[in-house]
């Protein structure tokens, strides 16, 4: 284990926040403007200066980590805005950059040459908002299919079962005349096709393009210099495959058994989460966040609550903070147990380790059920607190789990797996991601830390009350499948350490600031709330226009962005290793596809 990153105090972080402004001013005097819209943060850069600016931010100011790229459709102003959140891997607050482009023909330069981690995120912004990223190597749709009609996150785009722009819908009360929506809009009427489109004759050019985009098998020569005829084989792994943990597809070019190139294809579970959220009121989104990474609903809730609380400027009572941390860390243990169990499944240890891990997960889920009312779809956090306090007896169960059962069982799992020769043979040196690559591809969470970057949002930019606890940020240096397994075991131990402190210190008291109303007032502005989710940095970018519904709601999904590096990890590996590499990234398709 290496030393933690930002072991500086909170004051120093505050200090740094102030100096960012001065640094930027000194560097780019007069070329960029501070975003002065009410409640908004960051700087506005003209699109033609963007690449220059980003390069300088990376090379000279040390913002080496591009966390999030997204677009916002400002329909009334006839503008599209692209928002970038940069961070330093040493820790500290965000550098927020925005660039605006006319809505009629939105186009900004691509940042992929500077930050390769922008790849999928820019494709997503093109897909959902129709913003062109000039110079992007592969600007194709990523979550919807190639023949999709329009760009669904635009404010004037309507979904098939469209009723009204915003919830609550007027037809529900007081004249609630029940209808089944699918009766009112039969299937064939709710689908838009592009002009001149015929489902009978259409050939998915997306796939042809996809295959053409893969790199070729290099030409081989025999001993006497004559070219050998070799076949390039394209294999589709998935979308229906037990190793893909859901509906996920990888297109692979093979030279024999060696992988030449790999492209992940996703979106089979796409439901336009962000559009749904923009129709919803703020509180309605809480249960929807459960359904992103459905293994970690408690910490998803936390990320969203933080983003909205930042906008509202409300504080959370002590006891609620402690319970939030308790639930987030229990979630981390649950997720890592699950990830380890299923990684072993992917390696061929069919279900015995997975079931040992799931046993313990079951006990934590029982705690979640008692606390929140549901095992997986917890919907437990509220703005300014929690939905309810811990019920009688639950605290004792958690204490028993944390101090007795879980340490014993994690030790057993460690004994069972870590020194196993097959696991070592399948894991060591497989799917290597170097430190530089991990940062460049915006990898997050265990994937980033297994590559030797001690970056953990809990330490780098502390939220909630994480600055009070004594814990280490585990780091592993080889960046292979085996290290990504080990880091998860390390992190479970650190979570248990935090939980012991929570159990020791948790105070009595209120769990909610004021009364939680059914419609919250959120002042104008934008905010980026991020948490260290078990799978990596989960961010929520929320823009409020002062109305009951968010104007923009974006999820920086760690499962999605971690896949950017998937191709890089697999090149040169054998086909059987793809499954192990994917298992070690640990994705959940509910979050990847949103």
């Amino acid at each position: 284990m290496g030393p933690g990153v930002g072991e500086e105090s909170l004051d120093m972080l505050e200090e740094r926040k102030k100096t960012i402004l001065d640094e930027i001013r000194a560097h780019f005097d007069g070329e960029i403007l501070v975003d002065e819209r009410e409640g908004h943060e960051g700087f506005l850069v003209a699109p033609d200066r963007l690449v220059e600016f980003a390069t300088a931010a990376r090379e000279e100011l040390g913002y080496d980590y591009l966390s999030s790229v997204t677009g916002v459709d400002y329909l009334p102003d006839e503008k599209m805005e692209v928002v970038y959140h940069f961070f330093r891997s040493q820790g500290g607050p965000a550098l927020v950059i925005k660039t605006q482009t006319p809505r009629g023909n939105p186009s900004v330069p691509s940042l992929v040459p500077v930050y390769p981690g922008a790849d999928f995120q820019e494709r997503e912004a093109w897909d959902l908002l129709g913003i062109r990223f000039e110079g992007h190597p592969n600007l194709k749709r990523i979550l919807t299919w190639e023949g999709f009609y329009g760009h669904p996150l635009r404010k004037d785009w309507h979904e098939p079962y469209y009723e009204e722009d915003n919830k609550p819908f007027k037809s529900r009360w007081p004249e609630g005349d029940v209808i089944r929506i699918e009766d009112q809009i039969p299937f064939h009427k709710n689908v838009h096709y592009p002009e001149k489109f015929s489902a009978e004759t259409w050939i998915p050019e997306g796939d042809a393009g996809l295959y053409a985009g893969l790199s070729r098998v290099p030409e081989k020569r025999s001993g006497n210099g004559q070219p050998l005829k070799t076949d390039q084989i394209v294999v589709n792994l998935g979308p229906q495959h037990p190793s893909t943990h859901g509906v996920f597809r990888m297109v692979v070019t093979l030279d024999g058994e060696t992988i030449v190139d790999l492209q992940p294809v996703m979106g089979y579970l796409h439901r336009n989460h962000e559009k749904i959220a923009e129709r919803n009121t703020y509180i309605m989104n809480m249960p929807f966040t459960d359904r992103l990474d459905y293994i970690c609903s408690m910490s998803n809730n936390l990320g969203y609550a933080l983003a909205v609380e930042k906008l509202m400027g409300i504080a959370v009572p002590e006891r609620a903070e402690y319970i939030r941390v308790m639930m987030a860390e229990l979630t981390r243990i649950v997720n890592h147990l699950w990830a380890i169990g299923f990684l072993l499944n992917d390696l061929g240890a069919f279900f015995t380790p997975a079931l040992y891990a799931i046993n313990e997960r079951e006990l934590v889920l029982d705690v979640f059920e008692a606390v929140s009312g549901s095992r997986m779809m917890c919907n437990y956090l509220r703005f300014g607190g929690l939905a309810r306090d811990l019920p009688d007896g639950t605290f004792e169960v958690i204490k028993e789990l944390v101090t007795n059962r879980l340490p014993r069982k994690v030790e057993e799992l460690d004994l069972y797996i870590t020194s196993n020769e097959i696991v070592r043979a399948r894991g060591i040196g497989v799917g290597v991601l170097t430190r530089e690559q991990a940062l460049a591809y915006s990898a997050a969470g265990p994937v980033l830390r297994a590559s030797g970057v001690a970056y953990d949002v809990r330490r780098a930019d502390p939220y909630s009350i994480y600055d009070r606890f004594d814990f280490d940020i585990p780091v592993r240096n080889n960046g292979d499948v085996y290290d990504r397994y080990l880091i998860r075991i390390d992190e479970i131990w650190q979570s248990l350490r935090i939980l012991e402190q929570v159990i020791r210190d948790i105070p009595q008291g209120e769990i909610q600031t004021g009364k939680s109303p059914y419609q919250v007032r959120v002042p104008r502005g934008d905010s980026y709330g991020r948490v260290e989710n078990p799978k990596g940095e989960l961010g929520f970018y929320v823009v409020s226009d002062g109305k009951p519904n968010p104007w923009r709601y974006h999820v920086r999904a760690p499962s999605f962005i971690n896949l950017t590096a998937m191709g890089e990890m697999c090149k040169g590996q054998k086909i059987a290793d793809v499954v192990a590499v994917l298992g070690s990234i640990d994705i959940v398709l509910g979050e990847t596809d949103r």
């Binding site: 919830k167 609550p168 819908f169 037809s171 529900r172 009360w173 007081p174 004249e175 609630g176 005349d177 029940v178 089944r180 919803n280 009121t281 509180i283 309605m284 989104n285 809480m286 249960p287 929807f288 015995t352 040992y356 046993n359 079951e362 006990l363 029982d366 059920e369 008692a370 606390v371 929140s372 009312g373 549901s374 779809m377 919907n379 939905a387 309810r388 019920p391 009688d392 169960v397 028993e400 789990l401 007795n404 059962r405 057993e412 004994l415 069972y416 797996i417 870590t418 020194s419 196993n420 020769e421 097959i422 696991v423 070592r424 059914y518 419609q519």
Partner: protein, 204 residues
Amino acid sequence: MVGEGLIKGLYVTLKHFIGTYIDDIRWLGRRYYRDEAILTRQSPKARGVFTVQYPEEKLPLPEGFRYIPFLVYEEAEDGTIEDRCTSCGICAKVCPPQCIWIERSNDPETGRPIPAPTNFYIDIDICMNCGLCAEFCPFDAIKMDHDYELASYNRLESHIFDKDRLSRPVEYYRSIRPSDYAVEEAARAEKEAAKNARRRAGSA
């Protein structure tokens, strides 16, 4: 030594394997189909076999468990039924998937709304069991149920619940959520007492 890791691993599985038999012997045939056995089988003290044989065995539900909502009505001593619901519409307004439809009617003479729903529908195919309706209802009139066995053969006909299907007596609510009920009743009694005290002060 090559193979040491494998042997250590096999030791763990062997321990689990033997553990189940030891645990069976300790329970001596009382291990299955008994409430006390089910309670320990999936608890932090659990050893041996962990699984519960659903549907013969069922795990006890915690009080906070939430499934499809129901409406609470009160029955007076003379048998008249009074809905707690006043059709204020807060549940329909806070419902994230918008699966609640409430029909409110007006008094034909005064033209004012009648404070009880004429009808109340929940489409349980759409309901996401989030519990926000129960949480924000100011009259404690809509609560989350514990009955999760709702599978049916006909989705189109039987999955929109109307007021009759949704209504349950207050005793049922007390039986599934005793401590929530106690807290609410205490708050209600306090409010009532304060109101009476005000009234008395006003008349004096």
